[in-house]
């Protein structure tokens, strides 16, 4: 019987927080990004990254939001974003979809301490992850690391013993491998 197979109230709420990525299209209009940021501040205080990037449409930007949260919280945030008039095509990249359905990349620039003696060792670690040396001087190397968040985390972890002088991470940008399904397209207003 249906009523015996469906979950009780609250059964889903215990799901563990995980790294979540949401991608959306936002109109390139004054105040839109502010509105998204304001929503994140109010509804997802744990959000970690917000990336606004040029996209295929001259009137829109693609926005990528990274945050820690339970799946239920992530779905909530998607629905809240869909209600913003100037935001459309909001999609949640679940961890599974992140591996199969979408590509997520982030750029980091890191200035890491090294001397001529251990420079080779640092470059070897960088090469393991496809990172490049952009600048080298007597005291440090500036690395360009591109990858998913876990790749960048790994490089930073492995190079920590050298000494991190400065770091800038862009936050993720994401794209579907194939065109998004129609059902992922959210209407911008309700009077369709």
């Amino acid at each position: 019987m249906l009523s015996e197979t469906l979950p009780l109230v609250g059964a889903e709420r215990g799901a563990a927080p995980a790294r979540q990525t949401i991608v959306a299209l936002a109109q390139r209009r004054a105040g839109v990004i502010e509105r998204i940021a304001s929503l994140l501040r109010r509804r997802a205080p744990t959000f970690t990254t917000l990336t606004v990037a040029q996209c295929e449409s001259p009137t829109q930007s693609r926005v990528t939001i990274g945050f820690e949260g339970a799946p239920m919280v992530a779905q909530q945030l998607v629905e809240h974003l869909r209600k913003l008039v100037d935001v459309s095509a909001v999609t949640l990249l679940t961890p599974a979809a992140g591996q199969e359905g979408a590509v997520v990349r982030e750029l980091a620039l890191a200035r890491i301490t090294c001397s001529p003696q251990n420079r080779r060792e640092l470059i070897d670690i960088a090469h393991l992850f496809g990172a490049r040396a952009l600048a080298v001087d007597e005291e440090a190397i500036t690395l360009e690391i591109c990858g998913d968040a876990a790749t960048i985390d790994s490089v930073l972890l492995l190079t920590r013993p050298f000494g991190l002088q400065s770091l800038t991470r862009t936050g993720g940008v994401a794209l579907w491998r194939a065109p998004a399904d129609d059902e992922d397209e959210a209407p911008s207003t309700d009077d369709e």
């Binding site: 909530q76 869909r82 209600k83 009077d191």
Partner: protein, 643 residues
Amino acid sequence: MVSATSTVTHERDRASAPDASRRRSAATISPANPAANPTEATTAERTSQRQTGARIICDALEQEGVEVLFGYPGGTIMPFYDALATANLRHVLVRHEQGAAHAADGYARASGKVGVCVATSGPGATNLVTGLATAFADSIPVVAITGQVARHLIGTDAFQETDIIGITQPITKHSVLVRSVEELADCIHQAFAIARSGRPGPVLLDIPKDVQQATTDAPPPFTPRQPARRPSATATDAFATAIGEAATLIDTAQRPLILAGHGVLQAKAGEALVAFAERSGVPVVTTLLGLSAIPESHPLALGMPGMHGLAEINHAIHHADLLIAVGMRFDDRVTGDIPRFAPDARIIHIDIDPSEMGKVLAPTVPVVADARAALEALTPRIAHRDHSDWRTRIAEWSAETTKSQPTVAAPSPATETDADRSPTPPEILAAIRQATGGRAVLITDVGQHQMWAARFYGYEHFNSHITSGGLGTMGFALPAAMGAAFARPDAPIWVVAGDGGIQMNIQELATIAEVGAPIKIAIVNNGYLGMVRQWQEFFYQRNYSETRITGPDYVKLGEAYGVPGFQVTRADQVADVVAAAMAVDGPAIIDFVIEREENVFPMVPPGKPNVDMIHHAPSAPTTATPATPAAAPRPASGGRHAE
């Protein structure tokens, strides 16, 4: 573009005192402004095909079917007010912009249409903020039009410049700074469409002064958008599946309850709710904002749940195995401690806003739809049930609590006669109901009287209760009633407010007197900020810190504004004075002086589950000495409590 009026004034003009000879009844709204006096600008534009932004605003408002707007002029909105003089729009000059926002809100709640308020930039715009937040919290369609400094001055800290878009962003559904006169008409029509579509809400349009003055070719003829409430959502497979699952749950439930909220009123789903309840046999609980969704005399109508809800309803929710939540959002005042709310129940959650699904409680079956569409789809799919055992059990809880617990606001002992004692809140509400035949639209403020009005009036007519539920805005009732009076000229309009809240927007008495709106104002006066005092009594050892409040002599105050005033200090006066106020042609104000330390029972202490209701004040502390005397002697006569 240089303004013809830019040097006239930068100060907001103050209105002159109300002129009794100019009073009109709100019931006979004259559509055109009688003081129409075309200016040079408006005459000039008539001879050309080009229109000013100000004229475009007026035309767009007329096209949207706006009957009345509430506003206050000032420097940056003067071009609009100039054009308004010849527009076919009724404008009500409020005495404070907060009153304009609440009046637009009250109009929207009472009419189901979009309410409109207007203010100038800077202080005018910021004064709208509480009203917009109130409308946002309760999902009320309001369009707010604010003037803004001219485009070349934006960002220069110009006189009366404020970033009202930034300030109101979290409390509006949408907001737009109109950047050119060419996009103005579209922006206005879009604002109305957004305000009323889906889950309604307030929309703010910030219009720079030079955009109002600029001219452009007349916009193309306007074709009204259908006020769609997401009709296509009900045509989807997902909707059909959800309705099927919901019907199965309803048919197999043993102890089901309907929780009807504001969405039922907004979807005009009163009849659909009654039909659904009668077929399913499921009793109906109504949230504070859901009151009047079902006649309270209906055998399936139970009343209000939650913090000040009826004991049997909280027991029923605790033991329910299915909650059918319709157009409500599991506010914390309804749920109490969430893990202990309805621990045995599955939930069918019907709401037009998908972001409500799982926000507080994960529903077993989410149904994202308009309340009426969902109820109408469900009713033919479910079996006829009776649930007489379950309803008997709820009735037993009701009988038990009535027997063992004192009635809220218990009448005084039989040894006292009605002439010896103060009126009780239930008596006041019963008298209003009797005098109006239950046809009144009751607009309540926030506090103890709000809970008493929720509990003791007995709403029979659909959409006859208006209050600030989500934000809990003191000062809401009086200005909101102005809006309601314009929306419902057919119904008696009653404000029920406390002596704290009434003083927060008391200036609108001037507006009410000027337009002659037949609003009857009942002040439930205990000389305290009563709800806070009650919390202090229960949870802060009777430390009545800053909750005593004095007020004016409301009879004299009414007189000063030209509003007949009455005072009631004895129970035996209540019915006669209510009748006398009803007999007044126009507004009237009644000061009901009640017992000073009357409490609202039952009450769920904050953080507790709803079944842990308290029915008595906790015992007085033995050690702590109250900062102020707990039981101040009542004034011997006059009932005023200025100390």
